[in-house]
Subunit: 394 residues, 2 copies
C-alpha cells in the first residue's frame, strides 16, 4: 500500500510524496511524536490544522500498555487513537536497549521486564512484527539492536550482525504473514492468508554507530531485503555532533534512492537541515513538545526561553513570522505568566507553536528543493536562527 | 455598558441575555473558570467552539502574579489573555479567607502575605476596586468577608455587617473613579475623569451563611447600592447540602429581578438545576476541569470514572448524547489508556468534554425555560443522570 514518489531533487536533497492507505505525506517530513498514541498536550485536530501529516507512535510502549491485542480489538491504531492520517510505529529497539528493564539479549530476542507491572516479555523480531501487525500502523520499524555509546568495535560489530539477522527474520515473518514488506499488501497472496485490511509496510534499520565499514555493511544487507523504507538508527546516542554529521554524510547518500530514508529520533532544526542536505526524507524528535513543556520556544530568530524576565512585559508573539494559533492569540508576557503560574496552557500553547515551527520549516525545505534553492534556504534560515534570540541563550 | 434583558420566565426560573462591551452571553450561564487567565488545559478557541461564552478569572491571584499593573500595561485582561468575550473577575474574598496567608482583618481590609514571594499587601475594598479597574474585566465582584464554616452567629453577623460596609465603600470608590456601578460607564462624568475605554461593571455580594435574617439583611443593604448585579457568596463552604438548598430557596427569589443573580462557586449539575429553579442566572465551578484532570466525566447518564476496568475495551464515547470534540473522536478505551499512561491529553480531552456537558446543560435549561417546560426538563435530566453510570459510582 505504500508508495514513494520523488518530485524534485536539488543536489542530494529530495522532495516527494509517501502515499499510504491513510493518505499521503510530503517529504522531507517531520513526524509528530505521539509515543503512547497522542502527542503530549496536543490534539490530532491541532496537529492537522497546523500542518502535521504523520504521527509516530511506539510499538514497545503500546505493547505493554494498553497491549496490542486491545488496540487490535479496537480496530487498530487509527481507530483507537483518533488520528486518521499516516502512522509510523517505532519497534522500540531504542527503548529496549536504553530503558531500565532489559534482562537478557540473545539471538532469539530481548527479554524485558515491564515498568508497568514487572512481567517479563520476549521481544523477538517475529514477535515485534506480530505486535505491529496487530497495531496496524501504515509504516512499522523492525526490531534492531541499538548498542549504547560508547561502544567498542566488537560490540558494535556484533550489534550490526544481529540487527541484520533480525532484519532477515523480520522480513521472513512479514512474508510468512502474507504481507509484502514493500507495502503492496496481499497482492501476491491468497485472500485467505491476507489479514483483513492490512496495510502495514515495514522499514529496515541501519546500525553501525560512527564506523563507516559497519554502516556500509549494515546498509548493504538491509537494503537487500524487501523493506518499504530504510532508516538510520544509532545516531545521536551520545557521540559528538561532528561525528554524527560525518556518519550521516557518509551513509545517507548511499541509501537506495527509490525508498524513503528515515533518520530516527533527531533532531534540532540544524540537524534536520543537515540531514536533508544529505538526502534524508523523514524525521522525528521529541524536542518540540518536550521543550514546549519547559517553556523553550523555537522561533525563526532562534530559541526563546519564555521564563526570562525580558519577556515579562512583551506583547510580541513568540515569533512574528509564525501564524500558529499561539502566535495569533497570545503574547510572550501571557505565556510567561502561564508558565510561572504552572498552568497547563503554557505547555500546550508553546508545544503547539513549536510543532507549527517544525511543520513550517519542513514546508520551507520542500518548497526550496522544488525550486532548486535549498542551500540558499538553509543558509538564510540558519543566519536568521543565529541572529536573534540566540543572544538570549548566551 | 452592562445590560440585562429577560426574555422568558417559567415559574421562578428565568432566561435572558447579559450584554457586555465584549458581547452578550445567554443566561442561565455557566462561566468557565480560568483563575489565572486561562481555563486549565483548554484554549479559548475550544471554549468558544463548544459553546462557552464567558470566563471567570480571579483578581486576587492576578494581582499577585503577574500583577494588575502589568495586565493594565498589556491592555487589560482581554488583550492579555486572548479571551475576547465577556470576563468576570472574582475579587478573591473567598481566597483571602480560605488560603493560608491571611495575617489580619480589620475594617480597613485584609492584610495578606503572598504565597509567591511572602510580601504583604492590604486588600481593602477600595484597593480591590482599583485592582479590578486595572484588570478591566466586563464584570467584577466587590470585596466581601467570607467567614469560615462552622461559624457562630456573632461572627457571621459581624461578617455580614463588614461586607455591607465594604460594599458601600466599594460603590463609593467606583463612583469616585467616575464609573457608574450599574455599568453605564462614564455616561455622566467628564471625559477627563473617565478611564479610557473602561467598561467594568461591579456586582455586590450577599453573605449570611444559612441564617435567614442575616441573609435578608445582607441582601437588602447590598441591593440598595447601585451594583450591576448581585451574587450569593458564602454557600457551599462546608455546610450540609440541604442547608445550602434551604438557604438558596429562601434568598434567591428575593433578589432584585432586574439584575443578574450569580451563585458563586457551585456547583454540580443538580445544584445548578436547583438554583435555576429558584431564579439564579449565573454560575461558576471548577468541577468540569478539576474532575476532568482526575478522569471523572459528566455524562447525560451520570458520572463516569474512566479509570474503571469496565471501560478498558469500550469503543463508546464518554457520552452518546454529546457532540463535543472528545466524544466525536475518542473512545472510553483510549481515554482510559491516556489516563493510565499519565498523558496530558487525558486531562485535556475529559475536561473539554465536561465543559461541553455543562454548556449543553445550560443551553437545555435556557430552551426549556423559553418553552415553559423547565420543571419537566429538570426531572427528565435528573432521571437520566441517576439512571446510568450512577450505578458505577456505588
Amino acid at each position: 500500500m505504500l508508495s514513494f514518489t520523488l518530485s524534485a531533487t536539488d543536489s542530494l536533497a529530495r522532495t516527494g510524496t509517501v502515499q499510504t492507505a491513510h493518505g499521503p505525506f510530503a517529504t522531507p517530513a517531520f513526524m509528530t511524536v505521539g509515543t503512547q498514541g497522542a502527542p503530549k498536550g496536543i490534539t490530532p485536530q491541532q496537529v492537522t490544522e497546523h500542518g502535521g501529516q504523520v504521527l509516530l507512535m511506539n510499538a514497545f510502549h503500546l505493547a505493554w500498555r494498553p497491549g496490542e491485542k486491545l488496540v487490535q480489538q479496537m480496530g487498530g491504531l487509527h481507530n483507537f487513537t483518533g488520528w486518521h492520517g499516516p502512522i509510523l510505529t517505532d519497534s522500540g529497539g531504542f527503548q529496549i536497549f536504553s530503558l531500565p528493564g532489559l534482562r537478557k539479549v540473545t539471538d532469539e530476542g530481548a527479554l524485558f521486564a515491564s515498568a508497568v507491572d514487572g512481567s517479563l516479555r520476549l521481544f523477538s523480531p517475529e514477535e515485534v512484527v506480530d505486535i505491529e501487525c496487530a497495531l496496524a500502523p501504515d509504516m512499522a520499524m523492525v526490531l534492531d539492536e541499538c548498542p549504547p555509546y560508547p561502544c567498542d568495535h566488537g560490540h558494535l560489530s556484533r550489534a550490526v550482525e544481529r540487527t541484520i539477522r533480525w532484519a532477515e527474520r523480520s522480513a521472513a515473518r512479514v512474508a510468512d504473514r502474507g504481507l509484502h514488506a514493500g507495502g503492496n499488501c496481499g497482492a501476491a497472496v491468497s485472500a485467505a492468508r491476507r489479514p483483513e485490511a492490512c496495510t502495514t509496510s515495514f522499514f529496515g534499520i541501519v546500525q553501525g554507530g560512527c564506523d563507516e565499514k559497519l554502516r556500509r555493511r549494515s546498509l548493504e544487507a538491509t537494503a537487500a531485503l524487501p523493506f518499504a523504507g530504510l532508516a538510520l538508527g544509532g545516531f545521536c546516542v551520545g557521540e559528538h555532533i561532528e561525528d554524527t554529521r560525518r556518519g550521516i554524510a557518509f551513509i545517507a547518500p548511499k541509501m537506495p534512492a527509490d525508498r524513503p530514508r528515515y533518520l530516527m529520533g533527531m533532531g534540532t532544526p540544524e540537524d534536520i537541515l543537515f540531514a536533508v542536505a544529505h538526502g534524508l526524507d523523514m524525521f522525528d524528535c521529541t524536542l518540540p513538545t518536550r521543550n514546549g513543556r519547559n517553556g523553550l520556544a523555537f522561533t525563526s530568530r532562534g530559541k526563546v526561553r519564555i521564563k526570562n524576565a525580558c519577556h515579562a512585559a512583551s506583547d510580541a508573539p513568540l515569533d512574528e513570522a509564525c501564524g500558529c494559533y499561539t502566535c495569533r492569540n497570545f503574547s510572550r508576557a501571557f505565556l510567561r505568566h502561564l508558565l510561572l503560574a504552572r498552568e497547563m496552557n503554557a505547555a500546550i500553547l508553546i508545544s503547539l507553536h513549536n510543532l507549527a515551527f517544525y511543520f513550517r520549516l519542513m514546508q520551507g525545505i520542500r518548497e526550496a528543493i522544488g525550486q532548486s534553492r535549498f542551500e540558499r534556504f538553509r543558509a538564510e534560515f540558519l543566519a536568521a536562527w543565529e541572529s536573534g534570540a540566540g543572544v538570549e541563550e548566551k
